[in-house]
Symmetry: C3
Subunit: 216 residues, 3 copies
Amino acid sequence: MCMNYSDYFILMMEILGTVSFASSGAMLAIQRRMDVFGVTILGVTTAVGGGVIRDLILGITPPSMFRDFKYALMAIVTSLVIFTLMCLRRQLFSGNFLIWYDKVMNLFDTVGLGVFTVVGMNTAVQTGYGDNYFLLCFVGVVTGVGGGMMRDIMTGTMPYIFVKHIYAVASLAGALVFVLFYRHVPEIVGMLLGAGTVIAIRILAAHYRWNLPRVS
Amino acid sequence: MCMNYSDYFILMMEILGTVSFASSGAMLAIQRRMDVFGVTILGVTTAVGGGVIRDLILGITPPSMFRDFKYALMAIVTSLVIFTLMCLRRQLFSGNFLIWYDKVMNLFDTVGLGVFTVVGMNTAVQTGYGDNYFLLCFVGVVTGVGGGMMRDIMTGTMPYIFVKHIYAVASLAGALVFVLFYRHVPEIVGMLLGAGTVIAIRILAAHYRWNLPRVS
Amino acid sequence: MCMNYSDYFILMMEILGTVSFASSGAMLAIQRRMDVFGVTILGVTTAVGGGVIRDLILGITPPSMFRDFKYALMAIVTSLVIFTLMCLRRQLFSGNFLIWYDKVMNLFDTVGLGVFTVVGMNTAVQTGYGDNYFLLCFVGVVTGVGGGMMRDIMTGTMPYIFVKHIYAVASLAGALVFVLFYRHVPEIVGMLLGAGTVIAIRILAAHYRWNLPRVS
C-alpha cells in the first residue's frame, strides 16, 4: 500500500486528533483522581472509542483499532506523557502555559473532530454502505464524538457534547457536506471538504460564542 | 410487502411507543438543560436504543434502525416538537395540561413497552433463535427497556427501571407469555398476548401502586 | 465433550468468580435501594457483562452467555440469595460475619478476576486471533473487569477499577504472562500461569497496600 501526499495529510490530522482526544481523557481522569492505569485507559477510550462504536455498528469485528495499533499506541504514550508532566511539574499547567496549552489542544481537538467524522464515513463507504446516507452521517458523528461521550459517561460527567457549544452539530454539518460531494469529487477532496466544514464551524462558533438554543 | 389489519395494529402501537419514548428522553434532556441537538439525540436514543442493543446482540449489522428510518425520524420530529413547545409555551406544561400530558404519555409508554418487547422477540425468532427462550426473553426486555436505560446513563440519572414501579418485570412477564404461546398460535396473536400482558400489569401496578420488594 | 481434572479446576474457579462478581453487583444495588429485579439485573450484569463485551468485540453473536446458561443462572441465584438474606437478616451483615464475608468475597473476586482474564483470552485464541497479542490482552482485561465497570456505570459510581488498588493492572499482568507462555505449554498450564499471576499480584497488593501512582 503506497501513500501519497493527501493520505499523509489525512494521517497527520488523525495524529493531531488522537493526541488531543487522548489528552482530554487523561486530563479529566487526573482531575477525577484516577491512578496512572485509569488515566491511560481513559485516554485510549477517548481517542479510539468512537471508532470502536462505529465498527460494532458496521459489523467490523474485531474493531479496526485491533488491526492498526498506531492510534491506540499514540493514545497510550500521550496519556503517560500528560500523567508524568502533571506529576513532575504540576505548576507548569497554570498561567500562560495553561492558556497556550488549552488553545493548542482546542485546535487539535477541532482538527480531530473534523477528520474522524470523514474517516468514519469513509469506512462506511468502503464497507459497502455508501448509499445509506443516514447511516453514513450517523457513523461519521459517532466516530467524531463517541469517544468523548464514553469519556464523560465513564467519569460520571454530563456528556459535554449535549450541553455546550457547537460540537456534535459541527460534526453533523461536515457529514452532510461529505454526503453532498463524495460521489462527485475524488475521495480525498470529499474528505477535506467535510473535515474543513467541521473545523470552520467550530472556529467560528468559538470566536463568536455561538451556542445552540436551549429552553431557558 | 402487503400489510394486513393486524400489521397496521402493531405499527400503530409502535408509533405510540416511539413518540412516548422519544418525548421522555427529550423532556429529561430539557430538564438537564441540554441544547436542541442534545435534546434530539436523547429523544432518538431513548426511542431506538433498545433495538440497537438487541441487534448488536443478535449480530444484525448495521442495526435495523438504519434500514427502516421511520422510527428514528418520528423520534427526531417528536423531540423537536417537544423542544419547540417548551421554548414557546413553557407555561403550557403545568396545571391541568401537565396532568393530562403525563397520563397520556404514561399510557403510550406502557403500550410502547409492551409492543417493543414482543417486536424484539419476534426479530430474534425471525433471525433463527426461536429455540433459545433465554435469549428471546433477554432481547424482548432489552428492546423494551434498553433505550430508557441508555437515556438515564447518558444523563447521569439512576436507571429508572431499577428503582421504581413494576417496569422491566412487566416486560419480562409479557416475554414469558409470548414464549409460552408463540409456537401454538398465529404470530400476531402471540405478540398481542405478550404485549397485552405487559400493558395489563403496568396498568394494574400503577392503579394499585404495586412495587417490587426492596431491602428496607 | 468430556472434561478432565484441569477443566473441572477452571470451572470451579469460574463458579467462585461468578458468585463473587454477582454478589458485588447485588450488594451495590441494595445499597442504591434498587428493588429485587434491579438487584438481580445488576448481579447478572456484573458477573457476565465482561464476557458480553468481549464477544461483541470478537464478533461472537449472540454472546456465549446465551448458549451456556449456567453462569447467568448462578448469578441470578446468587443475587436472589443475597437479597433474601439482606431482607430477612440484615443484622447478619455486621460485626464478625461482615469481616469474614468481605474476606471470602475478596478472595473469590480475586480468583474470578484471574480466571476470567485467561478464559477471555482463550476464547479469542479459539476464535482465531491467537496472533494478535494486543487484542488478546484487551479481551482478557475486558472479560475480567468489564462487568464491574458496567456495574459502576449503571449505578452512577466512579468505576472502581480506575481509582483504587491494583485491580485492572493485575489482570493485565496476568494477560501478559499468558501471552508469553501459551504457545509453549499446554493450554491449561498457560491459563493457570496467567490466572495465578493475577491472583498473586492482587494478594500481594492487598497485603502490602500497593496502589498505583496518581497525581497528588
